[in-house]
Amino acid sequence: MNGTKRTMTLNLTPQEMEALDDLAQRKDLSKTAVIRQALRLYQLVDVRLAQGEKLFFEDEVQKKKAELMVL
């Protein structure tokens, strides 16, 4: 995505910061990139749900499929 970037302060609990650190390390991303990815994904899911679609998680090995309820 292009355009001028803006800076904001993010207030997180220790647990949230730990989760952010963990994701950044496992995905080899900066914390900013993790937040950016999360926002993209959240927007995508929100738009698709608003269009009446459903979100599923599927385990191909165990042949299990579960709908993720987003309220």
Binding site: M1, N2, K27, D28, A33, R36
Partner: protein, 209 residues
């Protein structure tokens, strides 16, 4: 929108010409491109039909419609780049960044830039049955390079993935030297290709991947 200067190769007369690569195209920009391309597509379809060329030999992106793809750009995960030269758009590429993950070691499960659509303008296709030669070369290579550079800007270290149309498989496998992961049953059995970070860096440095 951001722009950078690039060079294309014109085939007739043979010369290198200045062009611009634009990243961050908006849906309205893409509509302009589609309207310009649709006319040429229609002429190609008419020519191929008249000559009785089997559908299997038609360019496989001939049915693409960027106007239909444009609304996807309203989402943060999608972006579009294009190359402009000679007062015309010479190629377009749409990439996605939210849901596609690397499948190759050592970065399995890490995000990559997924090239959803990459197409050169219809007048840049070689269609032997119509005697059409491309007006410009290297449009696709420059757009693919932009995908790799986007991946680096995104903190994805150059990782890129895509599903190739059968007519484009050799380009990605033999020219760009991407890893052929294999046919994907979830994507009409199109072959999935991927660039690891190492391959991407060698590609950008001009070395052998």
């Amino acid at each position: 929108m951001s722009t950078q200067s690039v060079e294309l190769i014109r085939l007739d007369p043979s010369e290198i010409v200045a062009a611009t690569l634009h990243a961050g195209l908006r849906p309205s920009d893409v509509l302009v491109v589609e309207h310009a391309w649709a006319e040429h597509r229609a002429r190609l379809i008419a020519g191929l039909s008249t000559r009785g060329v089997p559908r299997s030999d038609w360019p496989q992106s001939l049915h693409w419609n960027w106007e239909a793809k444009a609304p996807q750009l309203l989402l943060l995960q999608a972006s579009c780049a294009g190359i402009f030269c000679d007062e015309r758009w010479q190629g377009l590429m749409m990439t996605k960044t939210a849901v596609h993950m690397a499948t190759l070691a050592p970065d399995v499960g890490k995000p990559l830039v997924y090239v959803d659509f990459l197409e050169t303008a219809p007048w840049n296709w070689r269609i032997s049955s119509l005697g059409q030669e491309p007006q410009f070369k290297s449009v696709g290579t420059l757009l693919f390079k932009e995908a790799v550079e986007q991946s680096i800007r995104e903190d994805f270290h150059g990782r890129v993935g895509l599903h190739a149309l059968p007519q484009a498989e050799s380009l990605y496998e033999r020219v760009f030297r991407m890893t052929r992961v294999g046919p994907d049953a979830k994507k009409q059995n199109l072959v999935y290709f991927e660039f690891t970070r190492q391959q991407a860096h060698r590609f950008l440095s001009g070395g052998e991947p």
